[in-house]
Structure formats: C-alpha cells, structure tokens
C-alpha cells in the first residue's frame, strides 16, 4: 500500500570517499554532455533521406542552399533544437516531480498533466474551432496548469498533506476522468477525432523556430525554478518532519517545484504533444550516478532526457523509412523496458 520513497536513502559517503564521489559525478556529467552531442549529430545526420557528412556540415553552416540533401539537413535543425529543449524539460520535470512527491512513479503522464493539456486542446478544437499550433500552445498550457493544480489540491487534502500515494491516486483518477471526457467529445465529432489523433501522439516533426521561440521563455523560467528548489528537495527526501527540522519551508518548496513542473511539462506537451517515460526513466538512471543530491540530479536528468528524446526521434525516423514513427511511441517502447529493468534491480523496500 505504501510507495516507499526511492530517493530517501541518503547514503552519505564516508569523508575519505567524498572526493571519489565528486569525481564520479563530474565524469558522469561530462559523459552526459558527450551523449547529448552525439545525439545532436545523429539527429542532424540520420533521417528519411540518406545524406553525406559533408552535406550535414554544409547544411548547418549555410542556411540558404539549393542542394536537396543540405535542405533536408536544414529541416532537421528545428526538430533537433526542439528535441533538446523538450527532452531536457521532461527530464527536469520528472526529476522535480519525483523529488517533490517522493514518488518513483511521478511523471507528467501519471500525474494527469498531459491529459489535462489533451482535454483542453480537444475542447479548443471542438468548441472554439482552433486549428493553429500557436493556439493549441496556450490552451494546452492552461489545461496542464489546471490539471496539475487540481491533482495537487486533491492530493494534499487531509491531515498528512501531499503523500506520494494520495498524489498518485489523485493523478490517476484525474487522468482517467479527463481521458473519458476527451473520448466523450471525440465520439461526437469525427472531424475533431481526425485532427486530434495525430496531435495525441507526441512528435517533434511539426515545429518551426517561431513556435519554439514561444515556449522557450516558459522552459527557461521553469528550469530556473527547478534548480532553485534543489536544496529543498534534498531535505524533502529525508521526510517532511526532518525537512521542517532542517529549516526548509515545505509549502514554499512544493509550490515553487510544482510551478516549475507545470511550466516545463505544459510547454513541452503544448509544442510536442504528450511524450511519456522521458520524465519517468531518466531521473532513475541519473540517480545511479549522482546519488540523491538534486543539485547533481537535475542537470543529469536534463542532459539524459535530451539525449534520449533525440535518439528516440532518430530511431523513429530511421526504422520506418520513408514514413516516421512518432517520438512519443518510440520513447514508450524504449523507455518501458529500461524502467522495468530498473524496477527489477531495486529492492522492493525502495520501490
């Protein structure tokens, strides 16, 4: 019945081992950045059209070209940038959610954020005749924010405040309710169903730089807020009483953290659609190297999230040539087995 906190095993290393832990963390971070760089190159180089390396370099360096291979490379630039941003945002958001709720299952999908955005987009299309991505962005953002607030409000009712189990329950219930309402609208409007089912699966392929520019401010603010409550989340990992005893203002930390996840997830869902498992898996993977310290965990999660999303996007483009498999499908298929492997390694007590 209890979901024991995963980050709540603060194995403080013996003084002599602090140096080696620090070295390992730095090395790991360098590796993460390298992974991101490799993923970026792959994302530019591989796709439906096979291009040479010289075309990749030329396509990135010379924006106006007539060569079709270089044009193909150029068309991959915005989606690569988007992949970086969305992946990092989802990784960060997942880490913050897991830290705040002490819930290893916390994920934009599970806590109802994605389905909130979905419902509002469907309503926007069905009732207000929206058809532009620029319109969806704002509606989806609003939906994500409202759903998060609702879940957090319900989950934190009662004496003990927001316990992991209650949050998860509230998220699942809200999510199911929102999905049912989405179905209710879709079943009466076949035209909306046709538009929506393509949006419903997360994809990086539809973005332009103008649209990316619209979400960047939200992502930046969200990231800053996330980093700002890293120390507070370290304390929360020790339990609410201990955190209060250490002088943390729990309500403030939770509020700031929740705002950052709303901004990060809302913006990510708005521009790329619901993409699962990046936020769920990457913090687990990162924690194996960083330990429970959120000041390290957050940058790791962001970098790994970006790398995973780009690789997943490349896989989706390459596997089904000349068609594409949406990145949201690929992340679920790649992410779920990793997640299962992590679960199998952990002791039940830590789940």
């Amino acid at each position: 019945m209890t979901l024991a906190p995963s980050a709540a095993t603060p194995t403080r290393p013996a003084p002599g081992r602090v140096g080696s832990l620090h070295r390992r963390r730095v090395t790991g971070l360098v590796l993460c950045v390298l992974a991101v760089a490799v993923a970026v190159v792959c994302s530019l180089a591989f796709g439906s059209r096979v291009v040479g390396w010289s075309d990749v370099v030329a396509g990135v360096l010379h924006p106006d070209t007539d060569d079709i291979a270089q044009a193909a490379v150029q068309s991959r630039v915005p989606r690569t940038v988007l992949g970086l941003l969305v992946g990092a945002a989802l990784g960060l958001a997942g880490a913050v959610m897991q830290g705040l709720t002490r819930n290893p299952l916390a994920d934009p999908g599970l806590l109802g954020v994605s389905s909130g955005a979905s419902l509002f987009v469907v309503l926007g299309i069905a009732w207000f005749g929206m058809s532009q991505l620029t319109q969806y962005i704002w509606v989806a953002f609003l939906g994500a924010a409202l759903a998060s607030l609702l879940v957090y409000a319900i989950g934190s009712m009662g004496r003990e405040g927001a316990t992991p189990l209650k949050l998860a329950l509230a998220g699942a219930a809200t999510s199911a309710a929102l999905v049912s309402m989405v179905s209710m609208v879709l079943l009466t409007r076949t035209d909306v169903l046709d538009t929506f089912r393509f949006w419903q699966v997360g994809s990086l392929g539809r973005a332009s730089f103008a649209e990316i520019g619209q979400v960047v401010p939200f992502l930046v603010v969200g990231a800053v807020l996330a980093v700002g409550c890293a120390r507070g989340m370290d304390a929360i990992a020790l339990g609410d009483e201990v955190a209060t005893g250490l002088g943390q203002r729990l309500g403030l930390v939770r509020a700031v953290g929740a705002t950052s996840t709303v901004l990060l997830c809302g913006a990510a869902v708005a521009i790329a659609g619901p993409i699962g498992f990046v936020g769920l898996v990457m913090p687990h993977l990162a924690r194996r190297y960083t330990g429970p310290s959120h000041r390290w965990l957050l940058p790791y999660s962001a970098a790994l999230g970006a790398a995973l999303l780009l690789v997943a996007d490349v896989v989706g483009r390459v596997v089904a040539r000349p068609q594409e498999i949406e990145v949201g499908i690929v992340t679920a298929l790649l992410g779920a087995p990793v997640f299962i492997a992590i679960i199998r390694r952990q002791k039940v007590r830590d789940l």
Binding site: S183, L187, L193, E326, A332, A336, I340
Partner: protein, 358 residues
C-alpha cells in the same frame, strides 16, 4: 461467507464474559449490515435489470417483458426485447460481474486500490491486441474476442514473469504493469494514427468499452466463461483472505503464497480478459467496484460478491444513461469514466479527511 479474517477477533478462549459478548455483538452487527447491503444491492440490480428491459425507444410494461421472456410471441416487443435488449442486458450484467470481481481480486491481493487491472496493463493487453486486429487484420466477431482473451492472459503472464524475482512482490508487479500498460498504449496510439477515420472511430469506441455489439452470439461464450470462472474465484477467495494477512501468515495457515497468488491472478485475469473481449475495457468499473463495495460493507469479509454486484450495477446504469439520458448516444465506458471519476475524487477527499486509506 465467513472468512479467515474474522477468526483472530473471535471470542474463543476469552477469559471474561463481557469482552467476548462485545466481540460477538459487534460481529453480529457486521454480519447483519453485510446481509442488508447485499440484499439492497441485489434488489437494486433486479430493478435496474427490469427497467433496462422495459424502457427504451418504445417502453413496454413488465408484463409484456415477462411474456416475451417466457417465449411468447408479442409483435414488435419480441424483437426489441428478445433480440436487442435481453442480450445487451445479459452482457452488461456478466461483464460488470467480471470486472467487479477481477478488479477487487487485484486490489485486495496487491493491497493497493490503484492496482486494478485497467491501471496495471491487463485490460490494455486485450485492447491493444483488439485494436491491432481491427485496424491491421480486419478481424471481427469471435476471432477478435479470441485474440483479445489470449492477449490479455499473455500480457498478464508477461507482467508476472517480468516481476518475478525470488517471488512476486505487489509493488514490483504494479510498477511493471504500469510500464507494460504504457507500452501497449503507445501501440494502440500507433495503430490509431495509421488507421482510416472510420476504423479509428470504431477502434476508439471499442477502446472505451461499449455494449453496442452485444447480441446473442456474444452472450453464449461470455456466460459459459463466467459460469466457470466465477465459482473458481469464489473457491479461491479463501486463499485471498489468507494472503491479505501477509505471506508468512498465509504460509502458516497452510496456503502456499506464490501458488495461491498465481492461481488467483490467472482466474481473475481470465475473467477480466473475457469481459474485455465482450465489451471492451469499460472504464473505471474494475477500478471503482472494490472501493465502493468496501465503503458499503465497512470492511469485514470477502468483497468478491458485493463488488460483483456493484460492478454489474455500474455497467447497467452507465449503459442506460449513455443510451437514453444524455441526449446523444454514448458508449457505456465513456459514461462510467465521466461519472466514475468524480465519485473517486469524492472518495479520496473523504478518505483524506478521515485520515484512513481506501
């Protein structure tokens, strides 16, 4: 329907008269309450069944319904009631029983109200297989149901195997189930984006759960499977009560935990998969029946029968509302989803106030 759970609190060997009498009195009160709740649920279910058969585009009197059910030919009514409403009602009834029982077995065994088959990927296995079968292979009818059942059982087996590590722990099973469910959901999404609009609409309707294709051919296999699986589950519920006390206690009571869990899981999964194959994964029924039954019964004894009654009620009332009360026609799964969710939120709010758990 006495259970192992009651035994520790039984008055046997109590040295003084008063505590023993108190316990016995409490037990009598609980038994009375249980009996009253079960009777009320059964009466309510009967009433809903009668209303379902009588009311529709054309409303017939219960007398006409009875005449049709007894085999008499009544012009008009024989077709409407005999061919359309009765199989639909029976399917709803059986599917509700299946979801209610299957759901409560999962929730009780895994000791987590979140862990109903629709959350941990069991129903998703049947759904994914069905959607792929519809959109890719154009299957329908009995073949489609067969695929859904086999896939549901196979997915449950895979989840069980993946969470096996020197025995199966509930928490790990839930997590693996959620992961597998997410994978299957992405398969469903992929199939839907590749399908034509008509197919996608069908698939979506099937996905949310619906009794629209519930005619006599569906009822036969469903009734047969339910008739085998429900008694099996009732027999196995002894083990369920023992497992609730924890693996060690269960072993001390002579139950082999892993074997008992596996057999319970198998039967419950089969029940849920059969129901899903007949009517789709009707949202929230498996999830809600257990908690509602628990609220009504107030926590003593097996929840299997009350949950089955609640499940059947949910499906029948939801289907009736979706057909006749909401303006345009909605499949039952949409109604139970939309109606069920606020109830769960309310339940959660209540639970939070009282500080207990579901």
């Amino acid at each position: 329907m006495t259970t192992v759970l009651d035994r520790p609190s039984s008055p046997g060997g109590a040295p003084e008269e008063a505590p023993g009498a108190l316990v016995a009195a409490g037990r009598r009160t609980r038994t009375r309450r249980r009996r009253a709740v079960l009777t009320a649920l059964a009466v309510l279910l009967l009433a809903v069944v009668v209303v379902t058969l009588c009311v529709g585009e054309r409303t017939y009197s219960p007398l006409v319904v009875l005449r049709v059910l007894l085999g008499e030919q009544v012009p008009g009514a024989s077709f409407t009631i005999g061919t359309l409403r009765t199989p639909r009602m029976l399917t709803g009834l059986l599917v509700g029983i299946g979801f209610g029982m299957g759901g409560v077995v999962f929730q009780t065994m895994l000791r987590n109200p979140l862990a109903s088959p629709d959350i941990i990927g069991i129903s998703a296995g049947s759904s994914a297989a069905a959607v792929v079968a519809i959109t890719t292979f154009g299957l329908s009818g009995a073949a489609l149901s067969g695929v859904a059942v086999v896939a549901g059982v196979a997915v449950a087996g895979a989840i069980y195997a993946l969470s096996w590590r020197r025995g199966v722990q509930g928490a790990r099973l839930i997590l693996v189930g959620i992961a597998v469910g997410a994978m299957l959901d992405s398969v469903i999404s992929y199939a839907m984006t590749r399908a034509g609009v008509y197919d996608a609409n069908e698939a979506l309707r099937w996905l949310t759960g619906s009794l629209n294709s519930a005619f006599w051919p569906v009822v036969g296999p469903l009734a047969l499977a339910t008739a085998v699986l429900v008694p099996a589950l009732l027999v196995l519920s002894r083990h369920l009560a023992a497992l609730q006390l924890g693996d060690d206690t269960a072993a001390a009571l002579g139950v082999r935990p892993d074997r008992a869990r596996l057999s319970l899981l198998l039967v419950a999964v089969a029940l849920v998969a059969v129901a899903t194959a007949a009517a789709g994964p009707i949202a929230f029924v498996a999830f809600l029946s257990g908690p509602i039954a628990h609220r009504l019964i107030r926590g003593t004894g097996s929840l299997l029968v009350p949950a089955a009654l609640v499940g059947a009620l949910l499906v029948l009332v939801g289907d009736f509302a979706g057909q006749h009360l909401l303006g345009s026609r909605f499949p039952v799964g949409v109604v139970t989803g939309v109606l069920g969710a606020p109830y769960l939120l309310w339940l959660l709010a209540r639970t939070n106030r009282s500080g207990g758990s579901l």
